[in-house]
Amino acid sequence: MRYKIKSIWLLVIILLSSRCTKEIDIQLNDTNREMAMYCTFTEDNLSAFFSSTTQITNGEYPRLWKLHITLSEEAKPILDTIINDSVFKFKYDFNRGILYHIAVSDSSGSVLTGTAEIPEDVNIFSASLTLAYKKYSQNEISGIMYSEATITFIDPANEKNYYEIIIYDVNDNFSPEVYEYWSSFSSEDPVLKLEGDLDYNPKTIFFSDDLFNGEKYQLKVLSSDGGNYCSYGQCLPNEAKIELRSISEDYYLYLKYLTRHYYNQQTSDGKPGLDMLYTGEPIDVYSNIENGYGLFAGYSTITKDFVLVPINF
């Protein structure tokens, strides 16, 4: 009897200590393969990135090859090329107020298309970028910088406008595309509060002119990512840029949905920790591409350069 009782308790302990996670089978796979592109252009260049959809459980993406790209300006062809890579760059003098059309096909015959134009540009009226350096503690030699960016511009009246602000450090060690972009933004600005995107750790700041249509507007934003950490009590002057982009509605919606999508999607790529499925409700990313996914959009841009000297406190 005692032996039986012991066996029962052993069984209970085994069951209790059994793994609480297990692989399950829900038929998810959608084998229908489609293409996606992220293609933006401004006054003098076009930059594109192409991808193919793959099943959610796949670890690898199929390699794209023999992508046939055609680009036309008001129905006049300006580019017809074939590439075997995901990345494509094209130098060209794009004009405002003119519709550009892109078509991309792959070996399967499916054709992605998109149409876009460059919005009217906007001038920065004034801009400032300040840094403050705070040590972790009095006797620590490391600290962190906080920064405040202020940018003033005039919004064109009687039209709907959308903007993107990008702030980044300039580091000679890197090519311009891999500058250190600032993030971890916070702001009490009513426009940004209304947009509600700062909750989702956006890489850039984007907003519409709903609250200041046709007016001069000053926008302030803080970032705790302001440049490199100072260390050993030394903070070298930093070179940084503020870029103000005038973007289309498609571009704005794409940024908005993508930011929320990325924040909310389950992020386990083998990382440690508890893998909750979603941070918030899942959301599909906005697309203005026919027969596929992604974005084709133009933008105007203006940049201000700063040399930053941290203020210690």
């Binding site: 069951l15 209790l16 059994s18 609480c20 996670t21 297990k22 399950i24 089978d25 829900i26 998810l28 796979n29 959608d30 489609e34 293409m35 996606a36 990135f49 991808s51 793959t54 099943q55 959610i56 459980t57 670890g59 690898e60 993406y61 890579d85 995901s86 990345v87 503690s137 009095q138 006797n139 620590e140 990008i166 595309e177 891999v178 972009y181 509060k193 509600g196 700062l198 909750d199 989702y200 993508l258 929320r260 999508h261 909310n264 999607q265 389950q266 386990s268 083998g270 893998d275 909750m276 499925l277 979603y278 918030g280 409700e281 899942p282 959301i283 599909d284 990313v285 996914y293 992604g294």
Partner: protein
């Protein structure tokens, strides 16, 4: 449309009222029914005339009336679960008052209640009947019987996720349930994320659970009414109950303040989980952070005072206070360079407070009133307190205090009247509630002390949104026995709701017909319109109680539901009740978070984060076969249902399944009294998996930022973009579980002791709590030369997390 409904309603009322006067040779027997030992007024006691096969039940004041033909001899049977039935022979020539006291019976016979008023003759529909006695027998997860968990075993009522709070009634969401504790609404009714409700079963007298066919006296929520009455307290002698379980400790005391005049009942319940984690942190401290500690507890306190002013007047004072506390504490920890000492105190706290006074008055044997004044509060608070001190420079320190708070406070006055007429009961009343909402309050203060710069205080602007509304209502309800075969309950609930800038007036008709077409079988049909002015925004992710209650405003309209239900009920010769119901419910003006929205940050902007104007529908059939009497009582419940929602800006404007839509829901429950003092109970549940959104495909997309590739041709961060192909399109694996429990009771000197033992999830079914994608773990592969290499499969797999595997429980209780 409203005019038309109102005219029909007026005509019906006139017709029914005219019927009431024609029975001149009839008399009424009336009186109160009490527990002989405690003096507790008993609600829902069956009163049955054996000669005419007619009956009634005692009302919420413990008062009954039965309508009889003048005769020389009539036998009236009084029966109630857990009490000896009592037969009374009377010669009835005129209206008579007979007060009854029933004796509790603790032996086997206790369950052999004659179900005098059979289900087919009860003037109600879609009401779930479970006695407190039956509920106490059911097995549980943590040794504490829970009233809401028991109701989840009935058709049409579902729990959410294992461990998540809330009841889902006929396709409704958890905020659409009205929980009334002695007439006062409570907002959050769950502890431990849903494992235990706030209702301590040892102080409960009666629970009425309506999932449809709502009487007109109730209003304010769309999907269910749960009317819970607390015991009044033993008016004759001191008694009580003490219970010690694996997780819970509780004590209940009741007794007279002045014998036969006034009484009290007090119960305190506490979850001991924090004591266990505290002991663990002391006995087995984390070597890196020996002063780290986390703990969770909750407590409930119920107090009720009852004062019999005269034979016709009673005063009641009720109070409930309950809180959940979750804390993470780090004391005197040091950073890696030992230069900084810091402490963190992080807490989450949420709970209800309720206070009410009531005055019951009996004007005559036919007219009652109840006046109540009450206050109710729900509050959710999270706080973060960080303090650091520089060990190398004493004056240098930092302190950060953060508070987030959300809540609602109600002040309510309510007057109800009940008239008992010969074949009718008229109920009417008015009520008014002042709501004070605080959707969000945040405060953040940073203080830096520096020997050079002095103190620097950085105070973020306090966000304190407050909203005030007034909700007033009036109702009229006429319960009639039109003929021997036809009963009705018709009424309307009128509500007027004033926000700061808008008023809503919504009449809500309620119609119920019961046609007893053959003696053991009835057809029932009902129509109810309900409205709801208070909405809950809750995170659907982790299941923490981050509930924001928000009011209807000029932009956010009240939610409305219209429900129609038909059903057949039958009691067999072997006293087995069979109930079949079918319903269709339509929702209007639902709200939902906008796609991609998260709750917590910037919660003051809630109005910008919600989708308005949602619609929904829910339909289903429910079957309940139940044997309530005998040494083996059991029920089988089955629900087949479908529930959908539609919002213009969600899922491309297409309908999508409600998250907790479950096609099949089955419960099998058995309670067996093996012999006096030994009871066995088992439950088995099966439900289809709930709806979930999962991605099917993905593509790559570059975003601004530092590159995550070594390839210079990829100067971006490349992320995966998921394609979801529809909201709630997929289903979690189905859920099933078997629980068993034994109760061993024994009379001892001063009372009765009971050991409760059982096992939750007997066969250790690993039910999915949530699912997630993850790369499989790397594998070590041996090469030809004998060396091992690590190989990682980059493909993702879908995993499920189980919250509750097999779980034994044990508790001890002593009642005296």
């Amino acid at each position: 449309m409203h005019n038309f409904i109102f005219k029909i309603f007026t005509c019906l009322c006139s017709l029914l009222l005219s019927i009431t006067g024609f029975t001149q040779n009839k008399v009424i027997v009336r009186g109160t029914i009490e527990d002989l030992n405690t003096g507790e007024r008993l609600i829902g006691v069956n009163v049955y005339n054996e000669e005419s096969n007619t009956g009634s039940a005692s009302n919420k004041f413990g008062f009954y009336s039965i309508y009889l033909t003048k005769t020389d001899s009539v036998t009236i049977l009084f029966s109630y679960v857990g009490y000896n039935s009592q037969k009374l022979k009377l010669a009835i020539k005129q209206d008579t008052v007979v007060n009854i006291s029933l004796l509790p019976n603790l032996e086997i016979a206790e369950v052999q209640v004659i179900s005098a008023k059979k289900i087919e003759t009860k003037p109600e529909m879609s009401k779930v009947d479970l006695s407190i006695k039956d509920i106490r027998m059911l097995p549980t997860a943590i040794g504490e019987t829970d009233v809401l968990k028991a109701y989840q075993l009935m058709p049409g009522i579902q729990g959410g996720l294992e461990g998540s709070s809330g009841l889902y009634v006929r396709g409704g969401s958890p905020d659409q349930n009205l929980f009334l504790l002695d007439d006062v609404p409570l907002y959050n009714v769950s502890h431990m994320g849903g494992f235990v409700s706030v209702f301590d079963i040892s102080v409960l007298k009666k629970v009425d659970f309506y999932k449809g066919g709502y009487p007109a006296r109730y209003g304010g929520k769309l999907s269910s009414i749960v009317d819970i009455r607390l015991k009044d307290g033993n008016i004759k002698k001191i008694g009580g109950e003490y219970s010690l379980g694996t997780v819970l400790t509780k004590i209940m005391l009741e007794g007279p303040i002045s014998k036969d005049k006034s009484s009290f009942i007090l119960s305190v319940r506490r979850c001991n989980f924090d004591l266990l984690t505290f002991a663990q942190s002391k006995l087995f401290p984390d070597p890196l952070n020996p002063n780290d500690y986390w703990g969770y507890n909750f407590y409930d306190l119920n107090l009720k005072l009852n004062y019999k002013v005269t034979n016709k007047d009673r005063l009641f004072v009720s109070s409930y206070v309950g809180n959940d506390n979750l804390k993470f504490i780090t004391k005197e920890a040091r950073n890696s360079s030992e230069s900084l000492q810091y402490s963190v105190d992080e807490r989450l706290r949420w709970g209800n407070k309720m206070f009410s006074t009531r005055w019951n008055h009996i004007y005559s044997n036919a007219l009652f009133h109840n006046i109540s004044l009450s206050y109710s509060q729900y509050k959710f608070k999270t706080s973060y307190d960080y303090q650091s001190e520089d060990l190398l420079a004493d004056e240098n320190s930092e302190q950060e205090k953060f508070i987030f708070l959300s809540g609602i406070k109600d002040l309510n006055i309510k007057i109800d009247y009940e008239f008992l007429l010969k074949k009718n009961i008229i109920r009417t009343g008015i009520a008014s509630t002042f709501h004070n909402y605080t959707p969000t309050y945040t405060s953040l203060i940073n203080t830096f002390s520096n020997p050079i710069l002095g103190d620097t205080i950085i105070e973020a602007p306090i966000v304190n949104t407050k909203l005030y509304t007034v909700e007033s209502s009036a109702y009229f309800e006429l319960q009639s026995e039109i003929t021997d075969k036809l009963q009705t309950n018709i009424g309307t609930f009128l509500s007027l709701y004033n926000t700061m800038d808008k008023a809503y007036f919504i009449p809500q008709p309620r119609i119920l017909f019961i046609y007893n077409f053959i003696p053991s079988c009835s057809f029932k049909a009902s129509f109810c319109k309900m409205q709801q002015y208070t909405h809950l925004l809750t995170n659907s992710g982790a299941g923490l109680p981050t509930d924001l209650w928000i009011p209807s405003t000029s932009n956010i309209k009240p939610e409305i539901s219209n429900q129609i239900a038909v059903g057949l009920v039958h009691t067999s010769e072997k006293n087995i009740e069979i109930s079949f119901e079918s319903y269709y419910k339509k929702f209007e003006d639902l709200i939902e978070y906008k796609a991609g929205t998260i709750l917590f940050q910037d919660a003051e902007d809630f109005a910008n984060k919600i989708e308005l104007g949602g619609t929904g529908s829910s339909k289903g059939i429910e079957l309940l076969i139940q044997k309530k009497s005998g040494i083996f009582s059991w029920w089988i419940a089955y629900t087949l249902s479908k529930s959908e929602r539609r919002f213009e800006n969600l899922n491309n404007g297409k309908s999508f399944p409600f998250k907790y839509d479950r096609l099949h829901d089955i419960s099998l429950v058995g309670n067996w009294i093996i012999k006096p003092g030994i009871k066995f109970s088992a439950t088995w549940v099966y439900t289809s998996g709930y709806a979930i959104t999962l991605p099917t495909k993905k593509y790559q997309n570059p975003i601004m930022g530092n590159t995550n590739s070594d390839d210079p041709n990829y100067p971006y961060t490349i992320i995966d973009v998921h394609i979801y192909n529809g909201k709630n399109r997929y289903r979690m694996p189905s859920y099933h579980r078997l629980d068993i429990g034994f109760q061993f009771s024994k009379h001892i000197n001063k009372g009765e002791r009971t050991w409760s033992l059982g096992v939750y999830n007997v066969y250790n079914k690993q039910n999915a709590y949530f699912v997630y994608f993850k790369q499989s773990s790397p594998k070590m592969i041996m090469q030809e030369d004998g060396s091992l290499i690590q190989v990682r499969d980059k493909s993702l797999k879908l995993y499920q997390m189980t919250l509750m595997p097999i779980f034994p429980y044990c508790s001890y209780s002593l009642s005296f």
